[in-house]
């Protein structure tokens, strides 16, 4: 079980990762995060993450209709967003490797 606090720092990474696959809208993103991470992300957390990414130019938005025909704001990753994602993935691997060195041998 991962606490919501622990995962909060990685919401941006998750959103960018999902948007690399295809453009999506906020509710769909939250559903994918819930399905893959196994925890329900609060709407305001996801919304503020998406908007933060948009304001820093890592994603862009456009209006379109969802599969059910409703008007939704879609987000797509920008080239800068892809670069940022690659950097963040590298950073995460380094972080994980460092932390792993400290937790090695503690598995039950």
């Amino acid at each position: 079980m991962i606490s919501a606090d622990a995962i909060r720092g990685y919401v941006d990474l998750m959103v960018l990762s999902l948007l690399r696959e295809r453009p999506s809208y906020a509710y769909e993103l939250s559903q994918h995060i819930t399905a893959r991470a196994g925890y329900t992300i609060k709407q305001t957390t996801l919304y503020s993450a998406v908007k933060r990414l948009e304001s820093t130019g890592l994603v862009s938005s456009y209006a379109a209709s969802s599969d059910s025909g409703k008007p939704r704001i879609y987000y797509e990753i920008t080239p800068r967003g892809s670069d940022h994602f690659a950097q963040k993935v590298a950073e995460w691997r380094d972080t994980k490797a460092v932390v792993d060195r400290f937790v090695e041998g503690t598995e039950e």
Partner: protein, 277 residues
């Protein structure tokens, strides 16, 4: 969806009414609408779906960067908690409080009804015994009546203690020792509105029973000849107590949500204006 719309309206009530605010609100509303529809498709009732969506909304504080600082003040209840001794109540806590009160409502109502009913056997046995209508002396009848009365009171007190223990985690809520929040206020108002028709119906039935309860006593004392009246007046009084207790039971079991809403909304002034330290 009305509950969700009202919830969002409340969140944005004090934000500047700009085109940007409207955009933010529309997008959040779309998210909530999709989520609501998905929960209803999964088989949840409309009420449950709306509750779930609101519980998953999160903190309005997180919207502050999108809306400017105005929203931080608008989201009353999420104010710097170091200024206040009581903690703001969360929606989850309010829902748990409501459910605990619902679970224990019969115990509470039964205890009150038992208190009212407790003297009935004593009155019946003493009057029938005195009139020689049953094979019991007045003393024996009184003794049995008192024992039953004490047993009823003991059971009623046990029921109340059990209920108090079940509600112990929410003692601070019941005592009003929390800060109200917009989200919980809205939820409580919805709860009160949903509960109102039921409570009104229960109140009508209870008042009807309380009025009808007087009929046996009045009929016996006014219409029956004195010997008959002396014998049966105790039974009539016991009947009156039964109807009185039934009225109380019906009213109390149907007033739970109204009581919960009242506890959640009248405890303290809204968090935004309460600046006690």
């Amino acid at each position: 969806m009305n509950v969700i719309t009202a919830y969002l309206d409340g969140i944005f009530a004090t934000s500047p009414q700009t085109a940007h605010t409207a955009e933010v609100k529309a997008e959040l509303r779309a998210m909530m609408e999709d989520s609501y529809a998905a929960y209803v498709d999964q088989g949840l009732s409309e009420h449950e779906a709306a509750q779930r969506v609101i519980a998953e909304f999160g903190s309005p504080d997180e919207l502050a960067p999108q809306l400017g600082t105005a929203v931080a003040d608008a989201s009353a209840g999420h104010i710097d908690s170091t200024h206040y001794s009581p903690a703001p109540i969360t929606l989850d806590a309010a829902i748990s409080f409501s459910e605990a009160r619902r679970r224990t409502r019969r115990r509470f109502a039964s205890a009150q009804a038992l208190f009212i009913l407790s003297p009935a056997p004593l009155i019946v046995l003493a009057t029938l015994g005195a009139a020689g209508a049953i094979g019991l002396s007045v003393d024996a009848g009184t003794l049995i009546g008192v024992l039953v009365l004490l047993a009823c009171v003991a059971v009623a007190i046990l029921l109340l203690i059990q209920r108090q223990q079940s509600l112990a985690p929410f003692a601070h809520v019941a005592a009003g020792d929390f800060l109200r929040t917009e989200a919980v206020d809205r939820w409580a108002r919805g709860l009160a509105a949903d509960a109102a028709p039921r409570r009104t119906a229960a109140l009508r039935i209870a008042v009807g029973l309380w009025i009808v309860a007087l009929i046996p006593v009045l009929a016996i004392s006014l219409l029956a000849p004195p010997p008959v009246a002396d014998t049966w007046i105790g039974v009539a009084v016991a009947l009156m107590l039964c109807m009185f207790a039934a009225g109380v039971f019906i009213l109390l079991t149907n007033s739970t949500d109204a009581g919960t809403a009242s506890a959640l909304t009248t405890a303290r002034q809204g968090a935004g204006t309460d600046r006690r330290g």
